[in-house]
């Protein structure tokens, strides 16, 4: 015999299970580690907080590497979607999330470049050479962008992480998968190359 559900609602509450699944606590100003743990437990607010903290950094790194706002947005999206599907891949004991996501972004960029280079003619496959429209009007910034974009990849990545994103050599080493000393020497060499390129450009202009 059909009975009104209201007769059982109190009983269901007494049984100790929340009446609804949506019992997410608001995000407090907890540490990142706490946010990561909550994200792993499926906490949407914690993931949203992590996204808000880190998306700009991931997007900028991809923007420097591609020179294209739309493609950088796609890379940033791929990075966070990957994180959603691999919540256990990040180990807080081995480093910070910023470096981890930087490493994921780097892998995504490499994979995408490999795929694109397969189909593009050689002269079009030099991604990131032209600055984005927002930079193109400022002459000095545009020149510096082009100079950075023309660096060999290992130097370019190091300059972007250490100089533009102001990461420590240790964080950059974690993303690049190399020793801290290697980061330092690459940075030194990259600065020499940049100075030389920009000097040559100034001489040509004058």
């Amino acid at each position: 015999m059909w009975q009104p559900a209201s007769a059982f609602l109190k009983e269901l509450e007494v049984a100790g299970v929340p009446a609804a699944i949506n019992v997410i606590e608001p995000v407090h100003n907890g540490s990142e580690r706490e946010l990561v743990e909550r994200f792993r437990d499926g906490d949407r607010d914690a993931f949203s907080a992590l996204y808000k903290i880190h998306h700009a950094g991931v997007f900028r790194f991809a923007l420097y590497m591609t020179g294209d706002r739309e493609r950088a947005g796609e890379i940033a999206q791929e990075v966070f979607v990957w994180l959603i599907h691999h919540p256990a891949a990040f180990d807080p004991a081995r480093g910070d999330l910023r470096s981890f996501l930087g490493g994921v972004a780097r892998q995504m960029l490499r994979r995408r470049r490999r795929e694109e280079q397969r189909w593009l003619p050689l002269d079009e496959s030099a991604a990131g050479a032209a600055p984005p429209a927002e930079i193109a009007d400022a002459e000095e910034a545009a020149d510096l962008w082009k100079a950075i974009a023309s660096l060999p990849e290992r130097y370019r990545e190091t300059v972007i992480l250490c100089d533009m994103e102001e990461m420590s050599n240790e964080q950059a080493a974690e993303i690049l998968g190399c020793a801290v000393g290697t980061v330092w020497s690459r940075l030194h060499r990259a600065h020499e190359l940049l100075q030389r390129k920009l000097q040559a450009k100034n001489v040509r202009c004058s």
């Binding site: 009104p4 792993r40 923007l63």
Partner: protein
């Protein structure tokens, strides 16, 4: 160009790049993927909560009943089946008594570590108007089902 000039240029460039916003809809797309992924895979915490509840329910039922065939259904509460929508006061429900195996309970989301999956129990099952089981109330434990 010397090193300080280079660094100054880099700071200026970094400032300009920081002003470039990601494409619109990026956050919405990422959060939609999060929601989709978690609809497919319910949160581990909910499994743990429901598991603990189910374990205590079964342990309590086993310990408090002197005879296996004893019936005290009315004194037991109904336990909501995990991951089902909560009942609204205006809905109507049907109580059906049936034999439920422990393996079925496990499949429904209850975590019952100590129980033999071959064990069955007589239970009142609360069925809502959409035909779905919403809650369960153990009545008695029965023999092993093979």
């Amino acid at each position: 160009m010397n090193d300080p000039q280079l660094r100054s240029g880099m700071r200026d460039l970094a400032k300009r790049v920081a002003g470039i916003e990601p494409p619109e809809g990026l956050e919405a797309a990422v959060m939609a993927e999060f929601d989709l992924a978690h609809r497919r895979r319910p949160p581990v915490r909910m499994f743990a909560m429901c598991g603990a509840l189910a374990a205590s329910l079964l342990a309590g039922a086993l310990l408090l009943r002197p005879a296996p065939e004893a019936t005290a259904a009315e004194s037991q509460p109904f336990y909501p089946i995990p991951y089902t929508a909560p009942l609204e006061p205006y809905e109507r429900v049907l109580i059906v008594q049936k034999q439920v195996s422990v393996s079925e309970l496990i499949a429904a989301g209850f975590h019952i570590p100590a129980a033999d999956p071959n064990t069955a129990m007589q239970a009142d099952v609360m069925v809502s108007q959409d035909g779905r089981a919403r809650a369960i109330r153990p009545v008695s434990f029965e023999r092993s089902v093979q």
